[in-house]
Symmetry: C2
Subunit: 436 residues, 2 copies
Amino acid sequence: MKPEDMILVSVDDHICEPPDMWDDHIEAKWKDRAPKLVHKPDGTDSWVFEGQQLVNVGLNAVAGRPPEEYGMEPTALDQLRKGCYDVDARIDDMNVNGVLGSLCFSSVPGFVGELFARQDDKEMAAAMVRAYNDWHIDGWCGAHPGRFIPLAIPMMWDAQLMADEVRRVARKGCHAITFPDAPTNLGFPSIHSETWEPFWRACDEEGTIVCIHIGSGTRMKLEDMAAPIEIMIASTPISLYGCAAELTFSKFLRKYDNLKIALSEGGTGWVPYFLERADYVYEHHKYWTKQDFGDKLPSDVFREHIVTCFIDDAVGVRTRDLIGIDNITWECDYPHSDTTWPVAPERLWKSLDGVSDEDINKMTHLNAMKHFNYDPFAHLPREECTVAALRSRATDVDLSLKRGGGGKSPSDYESGYVTIGDVVQQMATAISTPIE
Amino acid sequence: MKPEDMILVSVDDHICEPPDMWDDHIEAKWKDRAPKLVHKPDGTDSWVFEGQQLVNVGLNAVAGRPPEEYGMEPTALDQLRKGCYDVDARIDDMNVNGVLGSLCFSSVPGFVGELFARQDDKEMAAAMVRAYNDWHIDGWCGAHPGRFIPLAIPMMWDAQLMADEVRRVARKGCHAITFPDAPTNLGFPSIHSETWEPFWRACDEEGTIVCIHIGSGTRMKLEDMAAPIEIMIASTPISLYGCAAELTFSKFLRKYDNLKIALSEGGTGWVPYFLERADYVYEHHKYWTKQDFGDKLPSDVFREHIVTCFIDDAVGVRTRDLIGIDNITWECDYPHSDTTWPVAPERLWKSLDGVSDEDINKMTHLNAMKHFNYDPFAHLPREECTVAALRSRATDVDLSLKRGGGGKSPSDYESGYVTIGDVVQQMATAISTPIE
């Protein structure tokens, strides 16, 4: 295989929602209360919902900027690459990067719809969640059949409503839904609570994968203001290690045979260590803890249920036999600063030296198709889905770097480098100017 | 090489301090205020210091119990294997396990002397730290020359006092000292603070390795009472991932060429992932963060300064070229429940299939000797230091499992298995009975 022959499906990208997203999908009675993008007197944009400003319009959506400006936080929609919020431009950006399929996480509602879950008016909140999902499935993914894996957000405050929504969107062809890695951090019951049973059951029965994204529950470590920002960036993916342990030793995962969970943006290179440690702990301690995995080991349960993904992770590729070759998927993370866009195929290929075509195909697209219930070849002939074929359609996409894109500076560089305190300060000021 | 030919040096074991440890080493004026082991009316023992009971006499010191009783928390010294607190018995237990050398962490003062650091009377506290170190170096390690790597505890409240203590104990042959993985969690400045400069400088100049043990700063995740206890046990070693990131991107580590830091009980299998991630983050983000590693990468800085260790970690052995073969050491964790005692050589050997003698020797003892400034062969001929030679001296050590060893039960098993809530409850009741 050559790099241009790969078929790439990314199971973790992001949408910066367009302002017109609520126009066609919210029930008329709630239309006036939907989130609105407001242009502020200082020239910045802000989403406003129920009188509150949301943190940002395009959090870290810096694809297409020169690396020197990755830290400039966009403060207006026109500072973003159009592919961040416009679905046709997104397809162009996928094509030019050789990416066939994409699963896109929400921004405005939070990863798990927590913006809506925080509202007192739960009837309104549920309507917003349904409208968001309808827009995402019909408006965004529906615009280009075969190019997106639809992903719903849940009504976190009511597991029965969540189950109903899983079944409702499944009938519309959506078989993925988000869930936080540590629901207790958002004020919800832990995954060891019986509360979630209706939700797990619905996902199990509908073949719906549960997508747990980094930062969806466990908060980033931001306490040490003097620490270089790299410490936070380097530590974020592996924040899902704890979630992997919670899931592997949970009761519910062993109960629902068909249930699949994706650790979104969690990386893969740490998984062999985790699995060995989980088995060691089980075999070493089960006599007093009374845990019982029957004829299985914790690592077996992990491999039966949990799907990992990576952006650029040579260690994970090298140790893929220990992770489970059927459990590894790939992601692009467009348009966030960790993305390898628009050279994803070239970056990925460097990690694939000596890997068989069969294993490459599993990691690049076959596993994603299987676990996420996604069949692009029902819409597009396979030969039109390769990196080379997609790139041949995108010859007029502008890849010049957008210098001076605008936004908030990350730091005054007083310490010589960007610290966590600098970035906390940068975020805090994003919502400091009044709406009008 | 055969398993019995290995020479094993463990860089992470633990002492349960004997009650007479203060007799010969504390200055006369403070003798009455030294911690005392008190036998309570309910039959349990408790250390008492400045009117406060300490949590336990032998926290998790369960070596020699049947695995069914690993969870029974010892509540009296006579419930422990003698090797936990008696140095001659410890040597027998090392011999029977084929272990030549051992670095032993403190229990009563905490890993970093935080029991003393919490006291208002800093003169008394400093005297206690010095007395502890003198007992550890002269009383414990000094009893069997060549068999222990001495390890001091610091005066965490004063970096200059710490530096002085580094130099004082170095003159006594001690070239290792503890430090917490997240000092801010104990109320001290972060490692990015200039505060610690005198300490780092003293360690650099004296060739003293800084030993950062799991649980010394970052607390275990104990919030979710319904979670199986395995989640906590499986997640604890990798709690040092964040510390590895803090160190690698810190200013001070690049400043002191000679400074070495050990990640004690941190495991090794996750290190290749960490190093790849650290380099990715640096190369991807340095343009806006302004971090500058000169002609090096973060992974180079890690390998120049940071020493890892593992109990049983086949993944780390397999990926040792990515960690750095000179950075890997081995540990036994006697007498805690994760230990492989008394079959450490057999357990370790399973992970060494296909590994060259040179690499085995580095991981089992040569790296520990180099980084911890430890030369057992100055005291014992090399041929007397192998697993086989040591075991031949320990033919009369009683290895029968001590059933019904006593202590606090971990759980009523109401959930079917031990939960985090059960263990929190168990610990809380350990100090609930009055002293008299």
